[in-house]
C-alpha cells in the first residue's frame, strides 16, 4: 500500500494507482478530457493536472502513479490558474458553435467550460474553418471542433486495431487525420463509430438523418416502417434521462408510434430468422466437412456486424469464405418488409420507407451497400442511431418515462429471447447454440435454464466447447463431436482470432465476431458515455429481457414458423438465398 495525502486528507491505495483514481476514492473530483477508461493513458490535454509537493511542474493526475508520502493538492491557486488557462486555450482553438452543435448538451468541453465559468475568452480566437468531411455515409468529421485529445485515435488503434485515424503534422498544424489525408469514405475505416462514442466533443459524430426521417413521417403518401435492434431497448432510456440498464421495450414501442411511424416492428424477429438460416448453414457446412469430407471453409464466422464485415473485407480479404452468407438481421428485415410484409398489409413497396433504429453507425454504411437491394428497391432507407432516436423523442416533446406500454405490430414483430440477446457479445453464439443443438439432438441445450454462461461477459476472446451427444438419425455423424466455438468483440480481438486462422491454427467450428467492445450494447451509435460498467448494465438488462420472454429459442418463434410456411418455404431455400443471403467484396488495405 502507498500512503499519500490529497488536499490534506490521508489515503492509502495500492501501488500503481494513479493520482486521479486515488482522488476518486476520497470523492475528490478532478476534471479530465483526454482520459477515457477504455483507453490507454495519454496525459496530453493537461486538464487534470495537480500540484505535487516538491515537484517543479504540475502533474497530469491521469498519467502519474502515486508514490509513498506524496502530498497532492488538487485545488491550489496554481492548479486553478493553470487549469483555467488550459481550458481557455482549448476553447480558443475550437469553433465554439455550441448552439448549432449536434453534441450541444452532451459535450465534455462544454461541461468543463461551464464548470469553470469561462464566460469571456481572454485569448485570441485561433480556430480554423475546416470543411466538414461528410464523405462517409456513417461518420462525420469536423476538425474545427477537434481538441486533439486523441481519444478517437486511441479508440481506432487500440480497441479496434484499425488505425484509420492518426495524428499528423506538428505544432500549430498538428491535427487528427487519415492516411494521406484522404476523406473517411476512402480509407480503411470500418464505420464502427468507436471514435464517435469516445470523442468528447462534436468533432466526430454520426451522419445524422433525423430530418430525412421526419420528412418521411410527415409525408402522407408514405408508409413508414420502423424496426428496432435488440440493443436499443436497454439503452434508449439513457438518451431520455434514465439510468443505464433500464429495460424500456414497451415504452419504446409506444414512443415510436407517437412519433408517427406507421408500422412498429422488431429487428429481433429477423435476428431469430438469422439464427434459423445461419444455424442451418453451420450444420450444412459441418455435414460437408465431417460427413462428406469435403473442403469447406470452417470455422464459419458470423456476419451480423457490418463494422466487422468491412474490417475483414479490408484486412483479411483472403478469408471471406469463412463468413456466413447470411445478411445481418437489419438487412434481412428490409427486403422482407418490402416484399412479404408489404404484400400482407397491401402497401406498394415503392411507398414504403424502412427506417431502422440501430446501436451502430456501420449499419448506415451497410444499408447503403449496392447489393442491399434484394427487394428491387433500397431495402433499408434510413438508419438512425440510438442517439438520433433519442433526439427525435426529445424533439417531439414526449415524456418517455410516463409512456404507457405498447406492443409491436405483428407479422414481423414477434421475437424470442434468443433474438434479444443478439445485443450483447456472445449473444448470437448463444442463440445459435440453442437452436443448432436442438436441431441435431431434438433436445434442449444442456445448460441451466438455457443460459450458456461461458459465452457471456466482457473477456476479450471467449471460448466454449460443447459435446454433442444423442444425435438424431440425420446428424449421426456428429455424435460425440466436440463443437468448439469462440467469441470476439472489439476489432482488436477479431484481429487476434483472424491471425490464428491465418496461421491455420484455428481450432474452432464457429466464431462470433462483433466489431464493438461488448457487442451492440457498446455500439458506436449508443448513448455517450459508454464504459465497461455501462456495457455490463446494458448486457444484464438484455439477459433479463431474455429470461422474461415467452419463447427463448428462435425456431420456436411462431412468426418465424409462419414466414417459412407462407413465404420462404425452407431455410437456405431459393427465396432465402434471394432475399436473406449476400456476398462480400475484397477491399484495399489502405
Amino acid at each position: 500500500m502507498i500512503y499519500v495525502t490529497i488536499d490534506g486528507t490521508p489515503v492509502s491505495v495500492p501501488e500503481n494507482t494513479t493520482i486521479l483514481d486515488a482522488a476518486k476514492l476520497l470523492g475528490v473530483h478532478i476534471p479530465t478530457l483526454c482520459h477515457h477508461e477504455d483507453l490507454c493513458v495519454a496525459g496530453n490535454c493537461r486538464v487534470c493536472m495537480v500540484e505535487v509537493k516538491g515537484s517543479r511542474t504540475l502533474q497530469a493526475s491521469c498519467a502519474t502513479p502515486v508514490s509513498d508520502g506524496m502530498e497532492i493538492y488538487t485545488n491550489s491557486r496554481l492548479v486553478r490558474t493553470a487549469r483555467k488557462h488550459v481550458i481557455e486555450l482549448l476553447l480558443s482553438e475550437h469553433r465554439g458553435d455550441c448552439l448549432r452543435c449536434y453534441r450541444n448538451g452532451n459535450c465534455e468541453l462544454q461541461a468543463l467550460a461551464n464548470e469553470y465559468r469561462i464566460d469571456q475568452g481572454i485569448f485570441i480566437d485561433l480556430h480554423k474553418e475546416d470543411q466538414v468531411d461528410i464523405s462517409s455515409p456513417a461518420i462525420q468529421k469536423d476538425d474545427s471542433k477537434c481538441i486533439r485529445c486523441q481519444r478517437c485515435v486511441r479508440a481506432c488503434t487500440e480497441l479496434q486495431s484499425v488505425g484509420a485515424l492518426c495524428v499528423a503534422h506538428k505544432g500549430a498544424d498538428m491535427r487528427i487525420t487519415t492516411f494521406w489525408d484522404k476523406a473517411l469514405a476512402y480509407v480503411v475505416c470500418t464505420n464502427c463509430g468507436q471514435c464517435v462514442t469516445h470523442c468528447p466533443t462534436g468533432a466526430l459524430t454520426e451522419r445524422n438523418y433525423v430530418e430525412d426521417v421526419w420528412d418521411a413521417i410527415y409525408d402522407p403518401t408514405k408508409h413508414v416502417v420502423v424496426q428496432t435492434a435488440p440493443a436499443i431497448r436497454v439503452s434508449i432510456g439513457e438518451e431520455v434521462g434514465m439510468e443505464p440498464g433500464q429495460r424500456v421495450t414497451k415504452k419504446l414501442v409506444t414512443a415510436l408510434r407517437r412519433l408517427g411511424f406507421n408500422s412498429v416492428l422488431d429487428t429481433d424477429f429477423t435476428a431469430d430468422l438469422t439464427i434459423v438460416e445461419e444455424g442451418n448453414e453451420l450444420l450444412h457446412r459441418l455435414t460437408k466437412a465431417i460427413r462428406d469430407k469435403e473442403d469447406v471453409a470452417l470455422p464459419m464466422i458470423t456476419s451480423c456486424s457490418p463494422g466487422w464485415i468491412k474490417y475483414i473485407e479490408h484486412e483479411f480479404s483472403n478469408h471471406l469464405d469463412h463468413l456466413s452468407t447470411c445478411k445481418s438481421p437489419q438487412q434481412m428485415f428490409g427486403p422482407l418488409a418490402k416484399t412479404y410484409y408489404a404484400e400482407k398489409i397491401g402497401v406498394d413497396p415503392k411507398d414504403m420507407v424502412v427506417v431502422s433504429i440501430m446501436p451502430c453507425t456501420a449499419k448506415k454504411f451497410e444499408a447503403a451497400r449496392p447489393e442491399m437491394m434484394a427487394s428491387g428497391l433500397r431495402d433499408v432507407d434510413y438508419v438512425l442511431t440510438t442517439r438520433e432516436l433519442g433526439l427525435m423523442i426529445r424533439q417531439a416533446g414526449i415524456d418517455f418515462t410516463k409512456l404507457e406500454d405498447g406492443d409491436y405490430d405483428s407479422i414481423l414483430g414477434t421475437s424470442t429471447g434468443a433474438g434479444a440477446i443478439f445485443g450483447a457479445t456472445g449473444g448470437v453464439m448463444e442463440a445459435a447454440l440453442r437452436t443448432a443443438y436442438e436441431l441435431v439432438t431434438g433436445r434442449e441445450i444442456p445448460f441451466e435454464n438455457l443460459n450458456v454462461k461461458p459465452v457471456r461477459g466482457l473477456a476479450g476472446v471467449k471460448e466454449a466447447t460443447l459435446k454433442i451427444e444423442g444425435t438424431l438419425e440425420k446428424y449421426k455423424f456428429l455424435e460425440g463431436v466436440e463443437l468448439r466455438v469462440a467469441i470476439g468483440h472489439g476489432l482488436a480481438n477479431a484481429r487476434k482470432i483472424m491471425k490464428q486462422l491465418e496461421r491455420g491454427e484455428s481450432p474452432y467450428h464457429f466464431i462470433e465476431i462483433m466489431a464493438c467492445p461488448g457487442g451492440c450494447v457498446g455500439g458506436g451509435g449508443q448513448p455517450i458515455p459508454t464504459t465497461d460498467e455501462i456495457r455490463m448494465k446494458r448486457a444484464n438488462a438484455i439477459y433479463d429481457e431474455d429470461e422474461k420472454m415467452q419463447y427463448r429459442k428462435s425456431h420456436e418463434n411462431p412468426e418465424i414458423i409462419a414466414v417459412y410456411e407462407n413465404f420462404l418455404k425452407e431455410p437456405l431455400g431459393h427465396k432465402s438465398h434471394e432475399l436473406l443471403h449476400t456476398t462480400y467484396v475484397k477491399r484495399e488495405k489502405n
Binding site: 493536472m49 517543479r56 488557462h85 480558443s92 495524428v167 506538428k170 498538428m174
Partner: protein
C-alpha cells in the same frame, strides 16, 4: 585567444581510445561510477541531471536487455557543436558509449543522428564498424548502430527520441516511467548527449581528476559553446562553466552587445545590465551550448518572434499548453504590436507563459517561458512599440 579558451581542451584532445578501452576493461564498474560521481559531471543537454546517477539507476535495473543511446539530434537554433565533435572525435563519443554500456550492462548502443547531418553517415558507419570490431576483440559484448532522425526538434527530447526510434511519431511520453526504467523497446536505457559521452571518456581517462579542477562547485567542468550572432569570432569553443556573461562578452562581443541569448530558443535572454551578475552554469543560466550575441541594431521584437515562431512550429502539438500556448504567444505579441490588443495584454501573456512552464508535458513546452519572459521583461518597450 584568451586564457579561458586555452586552459581547457578535453573535447577535441586527441587520445588513444583503444588504449582507454583496454584500461576500462580492467576497471571495476564501481570504480568507473566513482570517477564519474567525483567529477560532478551533469548532463550537457541543459537539464543538468547528474550523469553518475543516471548510469547508476540504469545499472541497478534488472533486465534481459538494456540500451545506450547517444543523442546526436542537435537542433537548438544557434548550435552546431555536436556536428564538429562527431566529425572530429567520433571515436571518443563511441568510447563514452562503450564505457556506459559496460557499466550498465548494455549489449547494444545507438547513435541517433540528426537528419540534417546525414552527410556524416558514411564517415560514422566506417568508424563504427572498426570500433565494433575492436570491442569484439577486447571481449566487450557491445555493438553500435546508427539511426537517422527525420528532422523534428522535439526528437531531441529523450522520450520523443525513443518514440521516433521505435517508429512512432516524435512525441514526448509521460514520465514516470523514466527511460532508465522503461526506455527503448520498454527496456532500461541511458540517453546521453554527444558532449556528455565525450566527457565521460575523458573523466575515466584522467581517473576522475582534471575535469573537476574546471568550473565551479555547482557547475563542475567545462563545456562546448557554439557562438553566433553579432560576434567577431563565431565558432565553437570549449570554456569553463561558471564564467559571467560579462567575461563571455569580453571574449566574443563586438563592444556593442546589448543582450546574449543563452541556450537558444529554449534558453534565457540576458540584457546588458545583468551581464556582470549572471553566471553561465547551473547556478545562473544553464545552457545546452548555444550562445547568441545581439548588438544594439537588433530588434528584440523580431528576435522574440523568431523564437516563438520556431517553438510554435516545433511543438509536437500533443499537449494543450504548448501547442495552443505557443500560438497565443505569437499571435498575442503581434496583436500588441499592431495595437489590436492593449499593452497590458503582455501581462496576460506572461501569466500564460508561466502556466506553460508548469503545465506542459515535456521540456520543450516548459522552456518556452524562458525566452519569452526574459525578453519581454527586459525589453518591454521594444515589444510594445
Amino acid at each position: 585567444m584568451n586564457a579561458h579558451q586555452e586552459r581547457v581542451n578535453l573535447i577535441f584532445e586527441k587520445i588513444d581510445t583503444l588504449g582507454l578501452m583496454e584500461k576500462v576493461m580492467k576497471l571495476g564498474n564501481d570504480k568507473i561510477l566513482e570517477y564519474i560521481k567525483e567529477s560532478g559531471l551533469k548532463g550537457r543537454g541543459g537539464a543538468g541531471f547528474p550523469t553518475y546517477l543516471k548510469w547508476k539507476l540504469a545499472a541497478d535495473q534488472k533486465s534481459d536487455m538494456k540500451y545506450v543511446i547517444c543523442n546526436a539530434d542537435e537542433g537548438e537554433p544557434g548550435t552546431f557543436k555536436d556536428r564538429k565533435i562527431l566529425e572530429e572525435q567520433a571515436d571518443k563519443v563511441f568510447t563514452g558509449m562503450a564505457i556506459c554500456a559496460k557499466v550498465i550492462g548494455a549489449p547494444e548502443g545507438y547513435v541517433y543522428l540528426r537528419g540534417e547531418y546525414n552527410y556524416l553517415v558514411p564517415l560514422l558507419t566506417t568508424k563504427m564498424n572498426t570500433f565494433n570490431e575492436e570491442m569484439q576483440k577486447l571481449g566487450l559484448n557491445f555493438t553500435l548502430y546508427l539511426r537517422s532522425g527525420s528532422g523534428a526538434y522535439i526528437c531531441g527530447e529523450e522520450t520523443a527520441l525513443i518514440e521516433s526510434m521505435e517508429g512512432y511519431r516524435g512525441e514526448a511520453r509521460n514520465k514516470p516511467p523514466y527511460p532508465v526504467e522503461k526506455g527503448y523497446l520498454g527496456k532500461p536505457t541511458v540517453i546521453n548527449n554527444v558532449e556528455t559521452l565525450v566527457y565521460c571518456a575523458m573523466i575515466v581517462l584522467n581517473e576522475g581528476g582534471k575535469f573537476k579542477t574546471f568550473g565551479t562547485e555547482i557547475s563542475a567542468g567545462s563545456k562546448v559553446f557554439s557562438v553566433s550572432g553579432d560576434a567577431d569570432v563565431e565558432g565553437i569553443y570549449e570554456l569553463e562553466l561558471g564564467m559571467t556573461i560579462q567575461e563571455f562578452v569580453d571574449l566574443f562581443g563586438d563592444g556593442d552587445t546589448k543582450a546574449v541569448q543563452v541556450g537558444g530558443a529554449s534558453g534565457f535572454c540576458v540584457p546588458r545590465k545583468k551581464f556582470k551578475e549572471t553566471i553561465i552554469g547551473f547556478e545562473g543560466v544553464p545552457t545546452g551550448g548555444s550562445m547568441m550575441l545581439f548588438n544594439s541594431t537588433r530588434s528584440m521584437y523580431h528576435i522574440l518572434m523568431n523564437y516563438m515562431e520556431f517553438m510554435q512550429e516545433e511543438s509536437c502539438g500533443q499537449c494543450t499548453p504548448c501547442r495552443v500556448g505557443c500560438q497565443q504567444l505569437v499571435k498575442g505579441i503581434q496583436a500588441i504590436k499592431h495595437k489590436k490588443r492593449p499593452a497590458s495584454y503582455l501581462d496576460d501573456l506572461v501569466k500564460l507563459a508561466k502556466t506553460m512552464r508548469v503545465a506542459s508535458k515535456c521540456g520543450l513546452g516548459q522552456s518556452v517561458a524562458n525566452p519569452f519572459i526574459s525578453i519581454v521583461e527586459n525589453f518591454r518597450e521594444e515589444i510594445i512599440y
